[in-house]
């Protein structure tokens, strides 16, 4: 359960990070502005994940936190890629 929560936190945090990147915003056809939610998410959710993982014993907690960063990031990257495709702008760069 802790692994799952950490994975979701990292996935959302990294999705927020991705949504703030100009290249991804262009691909997703998102306009300008300074969205607050993704900013807060990428700052707060990793700490939430760390807090949740801290309930495990060391060094399991650190390994789970770092491992879920990697897997959560892969999931977030996959979701963003699918979203780019779904919005019908497969770029050939």
């Amino acid at each position: 359960m802790i692994v799952l929560v950490s994975l979701v936190c990292w996935g959302l945090a990294l999705s927020g990070h991705g949504l703030l990147q100009p290249k991804i915003r262009r691909l997703l056809q998102i306009g300008g502005g300074r969205p607050v939610v993704p900013r807060v998410a990428r700052l707060v959710l990793p700490l939430v994940a760390l807090g949740v993982c801290a309930r495990l014993e060391m060094p399991l907690s650190i390994l789970v936190w770092v491992g879920t960063f990697s897997v959560g990031g892969l999931l977030a990257g996959g979701v963003l890629a699918v979203e780019v495709f779904r919005r019908g702008r497969p770029r050939r760069s």
């Binding site: 990294l14 990070h17 991705g18 290249k23 399991l60 770092v66 491992g67 990697s70 495709f85 760069s93």
Partner: protein
Amino acid sequence: MRDILRNRMGWLHAWVGFVGGLVLVVAFTGGTLALFDTEITRWMEPELAALPEAAMTGEALDHAGAQVWALREKGQNVFLNLPSARDPVLRILHYDGHAFVGPVLDPRDGTALHSRETRGGQLFFDLHQSLYRGPVWGNLVTEAAGIGLIVAVMSGVIIHFRNLASDLLLFRPFAAPGRAWLDAHLVAGVLLLPFIVMMAYTGAVIHAPRLFPMIGAGHAARPAGRPDAGMRVVGPYAPLAPMLAQAEDVFGRGRIGFVMFGTGTVSFYRADAADFAMTRDHADFSASDGRLVGVERIGHGMPRLGGAMRGLHFIRWGTPALRWLYFVCGVVGSMMMAAGLVLFLMKHRRVHGGTFRLALAETLALAVTLGLPLASLGYLWGSRLLPPELMHRADRETGVFFLVWLVALVHAGMRCFGGAVRPAWRDQACAIAVLGCGLPILDAMSRAGTALRLHADVYLAVDACALGFGLLALWGQRVIVRAR
């Protein structure tokens, strides 16, 4: 091209990455599978599926101990592996130069269980740590490749440093092929950076004595022979069960992993799964009267450093969830390295297309990227198709693995030297799809009559993974066909 930092690092990353990558894909894939070596071994022993779950009894332990002493009196260097959550049977094991193998005993009474001879998942462990080439040259090559991986990671980070954070999730699978492969390589590489660096570093430290034999007291690799062959011990021997109880008082209940038998002593070793630091703490008993004669514990601080490195790398202490996290990271890491090989080939195909060197590079890259998974699936198929009573069965099974890999290499060579690179990739992806998707059916057919049940166990996990990789390969070969 100018002689600037970015280009120098690009050259270093490309060439160290490609040459080292041919070894690293094998080591990484082998290591990923070796995370579940015990479970793969159990999958390859379908006779044990019918065994009901039961705790080990004192009677079973004493019976097993008597069998071990009898074997040792014949000069065989064997030890006793105790049941655990991952492997609920007793095993009398010896090292055959590549794996720990031996008879399986019932944990209820210590009688021998009918089980086929196999090296199981330990083949992948040997492949991971020494490419099946023994503890000297094999270790040295993987050690050098591990250092090469760290060099490739560092040079890659320098090249990509400016876009490290901004392109962290930029993956465009529907862009031009070169861009899509590069995105995949970068996204996976950066996201897995902590995992890859940690694994490369701890792995390199574990085998550091191969690279720096003049520092320290040498390498801990086990010799393949029978070092105790000259030793003769004569009974009577004290029963093991009371000794186990005493050892558990010292290290904790359920924390004893295996029992070694020396000249006049019996040593109960703490299990690798008992603690993060993989130390070989043990309690020694007199073999004749069962008296505790000493306890050896690795102290805190610097002496535990080696154990901590091993603990981080092997995670035998880890929970199933952590092992699955490592597994996913290992699979994606192998794919990331394979994507790097493909990128290297795509770049050089433009200039060196049609040359012998490029065809050789294409052949080797294909043989390690798809040939190895194909051989691994072939090994699992061989395990179920070879007759259980075959002579030298473990060697034959291993032979199937290398034969399939050799066939994949020859096929890759024939296709790539014939200029049909894309069909070569498609053929091998198709073969993986067939073997992967067919494995659950094979399991159901060859395990029928023992204990065919559909619930979360090692059989379902191995079948599901094989099916998953089979479907992935099926999708991959369709992508290759469409990209024509």
